[in-house]
C-alpha cells in the first residue's frame, strides 16, 4: 500500500498548485479618455474621478456616466485610455499552498520591466515601490492581447510598434447613448506555487454594451 500515497498526493497537488481564479478582484480606475487616433494622440477627457474608489469587478460596477448634453462625445474612437492604479487586490477562490482563502492579497502589475506613458506623453519606468497610477491603452492599432507574452499595456502603440497597448477589437462608436465595459479577466492568473500568493497581469479588453 505504501507506494500509492506519493502518487495520490502527486495527483491532488497538481490540481491544488494549478493557477487559481479570483472571486473578487478590486481595481481603482480614476479617469477615462477617448482618442480618434489609433496611436492615442490628442485624447479627450471623458471623465476623471476626484475620489478614487476601489471597485470589485465581479460586481459589474458602473465607473461613471459621461453627459453628452454638455459635451458631445459623438464620434468614432480608435483608442480608449483608462487611468488606473497599478495595484489590484484579489481574493483567491480556494486555498492552495501560499494562497489562503479568505485572505486578500495585493499585486502591483506594473513592475520595473514596464513603461508607463502618461496622458501628456511623459514616459517613465514603473517601480515596485509605491502604488503608482498607470494609463492603460486599448487601441485598434495594437495587436497585443495575450498577457503571457511580453507586452506594454501602459504605452500606446506606434506606427512602428503594434506590440504596445492592448488590442481593441473594433472602433468604439459613440452616437448618443452608449455603454462600454473595461473587462479585467483574472481567470487562471493567480499563482500559488511561488513563495507568496501573487497574480500575473490580468487580461484586459473592452466590450461595447
Amino acid at each position: 500500500m505504501k507506494p500509492i500515497w506519493p502518487l495520490f498526493f502527486s495527483i491532488l497537488s497538481s490540481f491544488l498548485q494549478a493557477a487559481l481564479d479570483p472571486i473578487e478582484l478590486r481595481a481603482k480606475v480614476s479617469a477615462m479618455y477617448l482618442s480618434e487616433s489609433a496611436y492615442c494622440d490628442s485624447p479627450k477627457t471623458v471623465f476623471t474621478k476626484d475620489t478614487v474608489i476601489q471597485y470589485d469587478v465581479f460586481g459589474f460596477p458602473v465607473l461613471g456616466v459621461a453627459d453628452n448634453s454638455t459635451h458631445s462625445f459623438d464620434g468614432t474612437y480608435e483608442c480608449i485610455i483608462f487611468k488606473l492604479s497599478e495595484q489590484f487586490q484579489f481574493l483567491p477562490s480556494v486555498t492552495a499552498t501560499t494562497c489562503i482563502f479568505p485572505n486578500r492579497y495585493f499585486v502591483d502589475v506594473c513592475t520595473a520591466s514596464y513603461q508607463n506613458t502618461e496622458i501628456d506623453g511623459t514616459t517613465s519606468s514603473c517601480s515596485s515601490a509605491t502604488d503608482e497610477s498607470v494609463y492603460l491603452y486599448l487601441s485598434t492599432a495594437s495587436n497585443s492581447n495575450d498577457p503571457d507574452v511580453a507586452l506594454q499595456p501602459f504605452t500606446p502603440p506606434t506606427p512602428l510598434d503594434s506590440s504596445k497597448g492592448i488590442k481593441l477589437s473594433s472602433s468604439f462608436s459613440v452616437n448618443g447613448k452608449v455603454g462600454g465595459r473595461l473587462v479585467i479577466n483574472g481567470i487562471n492568473r493567480i499563482n500559488a506555487s511561488g513563495g507568496t500568493c501573487t497574480m500575473a497581469m490580468p487580461k484586459f479588453s473592452f466590450v461595447k454594451e
Binding site: 500500500m1 507506494p3 500509492i4 502518487l7 495520490f8 495527483i11 491532488l12 497538481s14 490540481f15 491544488l16 494549478a18 481564479d21 479570483p22 472571486i23 478582484l25 481595481a27 480606475v29 477615462m32 471623458v46 471597485y55 469587478v57 465581479f58 459589474f60 460596477p61 458602473v62 465607473l63 461613471g64 456616466v65 459621461a66 453627459d67 453628452n68 448634453s69 462625445f73 477562490s93 480556494v94 459613440v174 448618443g176 447613448k177 452608449v178 455603454g179 462600454g180 465595459r181 473595461l182 473587462v183 479585467i184 479577466n185 483574472g186 481567470i187 466590450v207 454594451e209
Partner: protein, 44 residues
Amino acid sequence: MMIDLKKRSVGLLIIGSLVALIFSMSRCGTVPADVGITIRMGNQ
C-alpha cells in the same frame, strides 16, 4: 493478502483521482470571464 493490498491501492487511486477531478470541476464555470467596470455615455 497481496491481492487485497493491490485492490486497496487501486481503490485509493480511483478515489484520489475522483477527488481531484471533482475539485477541478468545481472551479470550472464558477468565475465569469467578462467581469469588469462599466462606463455609460449619453443621457442615460
